[in-house]
């Protein structure tokens, strides 16, 4: 919170600590909290431990006095992965948002679908994507925040792609396939998952901001995420065929423009950034100044 002089790292915070820092103090009331013990029915089959909230906290709160709905994934429990209950909690929250006409904020921290409940998890992703689009059709904004240790991968990235606005920090990563998945399937020559700099040039927060994959770039600071979320709530909630057509046009142009680039740096150079190699080292203010040539999806999301 802005009155707190000590910066709170978003990356290091737990799901509940993120919610506490995001919303007005004391305003969060949780739905199906840990005391309900609504745990995974699948994990015991594999003799794996369950978590009381199945790795996600959802509920209602206010931000600057305005009622909102909020969800946060716990990236440390099974990599924040979606299981049946985890997914159902988010689906329910989004359906409530459409009915109540309340904006939603989702703090992503996920590797995708939980392998031990793959079918239920994949179905959950589909249901959540539908619920996001139904909520947006009802005029609700769905804001995604990405800056956790697990990043936002797999089905989580597909849900993120349906959001009205995405906010990311340098630590955030957004991609359908994670580094290890690409390396396993295509070989280390294609993608070396242990090359951290390469990983961040390809799916990290700065790169995603530069190519318009996300809409706002903030410090790894809970207060900065809150400020960016409030700004996102002030944007238009337009969601109609013209928005989808604009996004299609933007993505086609991106393919033409960057299709031959083999590294993030080539993309940044093509964007007109003079010293692309320095991008990963820039502090937030300098990076935002250098990012004036960035692609934006302002009319296309």
């Amino acid at each position: 919170m802005s009155s707190n002089p000590i910066r709170q790292s978003w990356y290091e915070a737990s799901a509940r600590a993120r919610i506490a820092a995001l919303v007005d103090p004391g305003s969060f009331s949780e739905f199906i909290g840990p005391e309900a013990r609504e745990t995974s029915p699948h994990l015991p089959i594999f003799d794996l431990p369950r978590q009381f909230d199945d790795g996600i906290a959802v509920g209602a709160a206010t931000m600057d006095g305005t009622p909102v709905l909020v969800a946060a994934q716990e990236g440390r429990f099974m990599g924040g992965a979606f299981g049946e209950v985890h997914g159902a909690k988010l689906t329910g929250l989004l359906r409530a948002a459409a009915t109540l006409k309340r904006d939603v904020v989702i703090a992503f921290d996920t590797g995708g679908v939980r392998l031990q409940e793959a079918n239920a998890g994949e179905l959950a992703i589909a249901e959540i994507m539908r619920a996001v689009l139904d909520a947006r059709t009802a005029g609700v904004r769905v804001i995604g925040l990405i800056g956790g240790r697990a990043g936002c991968y797999g089905g989580g990235s597909l849900i993120a792609g349906c959001c009205s606005t995405l906010v990311i920090s340098e630590q955030g990563r957004l991609s359908v396939s994670g580094p290890e998945v690409i390396e396993t399937n295509r070989g280390v020559e294609e993608f070396d998952s242990r090359d951290r700099a390469l990983v961040w040039r390809t799916m990290g927060g700065k790169h995603r901001y530069l190519i318009g994959g996300v809409d706002a770039y903030v410090d790894d600071d809970a207060a900065a995420f809150r400020t960016a979320t409030l700004a996102a709530f002030a944007r238009p909630a337009t969601f109609d065929p013209s928005v989808l057509a604009a996004e299609q046009t933007r993505l086609e142009a991106r393919l033409t423009q960057f299709g031959s680039a083999i590294d993030g740096r080539d993309v940044w150079t093509t964007l007109g950034i003079t010293d692309a190699a320095t991008i990963p080292d820039l502090a937030t203010a300098d990076f935002l100044a250098a990012a004036t040539h960035r692609e934006s999806a302002d009319d296309a999301r």
């Binding site: 737990s14 509940r16 103090p25 004391g26 909290g33 840990p34 005391e35 013990r37 015991p44 003799d47 794996l48 431990p49 369950r50 978590q51 009381f52 716990e74 440390r76 429990f77 099974m78």
Partner: protein, 105 residues
Amino acid sequence: MQTLRYDIAAPRAAGGTRTIALVGVVASGNLEVLLERGGPADRCTIEIATTAQGFDDLWAAVTADVVAARGGGGLRIAINDGGARPDTVALRLAQGIRLIEEPVA
């Protein structure tokens, strides 16, 4: 999966008025502790779900130690264990009892 249950004599009742507290996370070497009010003021019940077999005596010793030192009477404590070491368990239990005793903001 093994479920262990302990009903421990507590030297004093847990203070405060919070109805629930949650600390920790189910991750490797960590554990989740859910504390709720319930039961006699001089007893603390602890239920543990763990996949690590054969550590019953250790769990009994650690939970008895924490309750003797921190009180926790009138609490029902539930634990999901991710393979935490005894020192981590003791710290999480102490953290949980302190949290539920904290004044409501």
